[in-house]
Amino acid sequence: MSSPGHNVAHQFDDAVQQRDASTLGMWVFLVTEVMMFGGLFATYVLYRSAYPEAFAAASHHLNAQLGAMNTLVLLGSSLTMALAVRSAQHGARFGTVAGLLSTIALGSVFLGVKAYEYAHKFEEKLVPGPYFVFDGPEGTHAELFFSLYFAMTGLHALHMVIGVGVLGTLAVMAARGRFSVAYHNPIEIGGLYWHFVDIVWIYLFPLLYLLGRH
């Protein structure tokens, strides 16, 4: 049975089943994401244990202050996302839209900083491939570090871009009054995705930026 103002898809018996199924579906999807990033983390663990000095030396070339600032930006975006979810749960349209837009804004700042960092790496000739140059004894292993740096932060950034798109869509829907106290699950599961992307960065930051700093 559907209440006025939101739809229950035909395959579901009621709104509760639809909500529970959607939420479980997002969590299962996040499990697949954990495994996908897990392969990269496994690669990282193996090579860092094999070449600790090279990894420490390479990590020095990353700007830890910028990385830390970006971490705070992303954590802030998780706060605004949680606030958006909370507003949605209370049926507060303005709070929902404001929260989503703030999250998008902070996420965009993060991506902008990453773009700047990537451009800087390009100038420093630290992009792996035929033009890679590393002044230090462990050039090939440092290149391995940067391969992982670009692969891991690149995949993370791709997820953020997708996340911004998803949140933008949700913001438009929220602004049009599609959500209510009775129906707001898409915001919640959008939030789950965004928080997951934040968690990945919570691990990436110390593992990539803070090696060998003492």
Binding site: H10, L24, V31, T32, E33, F37, A42, E143, L144, S147
Partner: protein, 550 residues
């Protein structure tokens, strides 16, 4: 039985009990209604067509391989071409036929019916999964047409990332994309089974087919992402000359193998578990007896899924993997055989003192039990470290996995096709033709692959297009068997397609089988059930009275 009558009338005019005027096939017409469908049953048919085409492609490569191996010399194709043949045979058969086969066709079609639901939890994701599959297949086909790949389906580095001059990148992209089809299917199944069972349908009342697909879905979502990221790394290494797996640049090729096999071993359980679910359904129906040890079979599916993730290193016994890791993997590989054995014992006990009849689905299911047992036992040979060192990379391994994949999984798939064909199409096929093809498949299969056990033990390596003269007799036997096997696969194509036009109309329950899917018309209406059924019985409550159409 009314199904024996020749078809004299068109489906839409059939007025017999069990036939419906409007069903999912004729509910809407036109290409758009199929390509934009959200009906799980139509999506299953879309998959059926796609994977059949890919199966034919994979078989084409197999034909060339067996023809080349008729003679000891490399006289049909050159070595480089032969490398491409076995590579593409493996890739197409594994990723584009076996992995999707039963889940994408029969899982999609039957799961909602078996649990009393109107559709899967996410019908649009379901359709998306088919499109993702098609796009992935298109990339791979493009790679095949424009020169092929020669790395082996296992893509070992650094050959695949550095030395190979074939279409590795395109193929890698194709497999990467198709992996997401698997992930979406698995996700859909898990949520559906958890959230959308009919009232009264507790976990231990579910058909074992559902348990099998649940376990398969767990593997799909936990394993496939790892091969996705691994293929991704291979792709960027190749495209940008990075050094992730290349030892010349400090990379570890064994890391690739760990990452690859972390998925690819559980993948073999993705390929076999659904067949086991099919066999449970068929055996119990044609023995007219409740399955023996229901809970054990159900839980053993989960056990296989879990243990399957702990054994991948047994593919790496002859790599530079450490002996201690090899020991752990060897012991665990012995353990993973136990839940499979439990199933075989329970199926056998179900047959004991059953009222057995030998319709075509039953022939395929019985064939599965015998051939899977042989394949599984030879797996234990391979799990033993010392023996594996002797037969690794020989035809012993090739025979082992073909016994499981072809003698097991493919037989299960054919059994499923024959068992649920009347449900899906509303038509019966020619029973005698089906039995003939089952026998052809069984005989042809054994003649093809049993000699390969001997060849492998005698030392014939795999992936070589030439071999010593003394191995020719066994190879000729194998190719002869393959010819018979090929006929055995082509015959069903003929009589099944024929049945669509001229087959007798099928009733709702031509096999007098238990299960919710047999309570709806053949073919089912789009919405499956007019009213959500309420389940009060255990599964497999045989004998089944004349079924009522719900």
């Amino acid at each position: 039985m009314d199904d024996a009558r020749p078809a004299q009338r068109k489906l839409v005019n059939a007025m017999e009990p069990g036939a419906s005027r409007t069903n999912y096939l004729n509910a809407d017409y036109g290409l758009k209604s199929w390509l934009l469908t959200r009906d799980h049953k139509r999506i299953a048919i879309l998959y059926l067509i796609s994977i059949t085409l890919m199966f034919l492609l994979g078989s084409f490569f197999a034909v060339l391989i067996r023809l080349e191996l008729l003679t000891p010399h490399g006289d049909l194709v050159q070595g480089d071409t032969y490398n491409k043949l076995f590579t593409m045979h493996g890739i197409v058969m594994v990723f584009f036929f076996l992995v999707p086969s039963i889940p994408a066709v029969f899982g999609n079609f039957l799961l909602p019916l078996m649990i009393g639901a109107r559709d899967l939890a996410f019908p649009r994701l379901n359709l998306l999964s088919w499109y993702v599959y098609v796009v992935g297949a298109a990339f791979t086909l493009w790679a095949v047409i424009t020169g092929g790949v020669d790395t082996g389906w296992t893509f070992y580095t650094p050959y695949s990332t550095t030395a190979s001059h074939t279409n590795v990148l395109t193929t890698a992209i194709g497999i990467f994309i198709t992996g997401f089809s698997s992930i979406l299917t698995g996700l859909n199944f898990i949520v559906t089974i958890h959230q959308m069972r009919a009232p009264g349908l507790t976990w231990f009342r579910l058909p074992l087919f559902v348990w099998a697909h649940y376990a398969t879905s767990l593997i799909m979502i936990l394993g496939t992402p790892v091969i996705a990221i691994t293929i991704f790394l291979v792709g960027i290494e190749r495209a940008f000359q990075l050094g992730i797996f290349d030892p010349a640049l400090g990379g570890d090729p064994i890391l690739f193998q760990h990452l690859f096999w972390f998925y690819s071993h559980p993948a073999v359980y993705i390929m076999i578990l659904p067949s086991m679910g099919v066999v449970s359904e068929i055996i119990t129906c044609f023995a007219r007896k409740r399955i023996f040890g229901y809970e054990f079979i159900a839980v053993s599916s989960l056990a296989i899924a879990l243990f399957g993730f702990l054994v991948w290193g047994h593919h790496m016994f002859t790599s530079t993997q450490s002996v201690y890791a090899a020991l752990i993997f060897s012991v665990l590989s012995f353990a993973v055989a136990i839940p499979s054995a439990v199933k075989v014992f329970n199926w056998t006990a179900t047959l004991y003192r059953g009222s057995i009849s030998f319709e075509a689905p039953m022939l395929f299911a019985l064939g599965f039990i015998g051939l899977f047992t042989i394949g599984g036992l030879t797996g234990l040979f391979l799990a033993a470290l010392g023996l594996d060192v002797h037969v690794h990379d020989t035809y012993f391994v090739v025979a082992h996995f073909h016994y499981i994949m072809v003698g097991g999984a493919l037989m299960g798939y054919l059994g499923a096709v024959h068992f649920w064909w009347p449900k899906m199409t509303g038509r019966m096929y020619s029973e005698w033709a089906a039995r003939v093809s089952a026998v052809l498949v069984f005989v042809g299969f054994n003649l093809t692959f049993f000699p390969q056990f001997v060849l492998g033990y005698l030392g014939m390596p795999r992936r070589y297009h030439v071999y010593p003269d003394e191995f020719q007799v066994l190879n000729v036997m194998s190719t002869t068997g393959a010819s018979i096997l090929g006929v055995g696969y082509l015959v069903p194509l003929c009589y099944l397609i024929w049945s669509l036009w001229r087959g007798p109309i099928a009733s709702a329950n031509p096999w007098r089988a238990a299960g919710l899917e047999w309570k709806v018309a053949s073919p089912p209406p789009t919405e499956n059930f007019a009213q959500t059924p309420i389940v009060t019985e255990e599964a497999y409550s045989y004998p089944v009275r004349e079924a009522e159409v719900v």
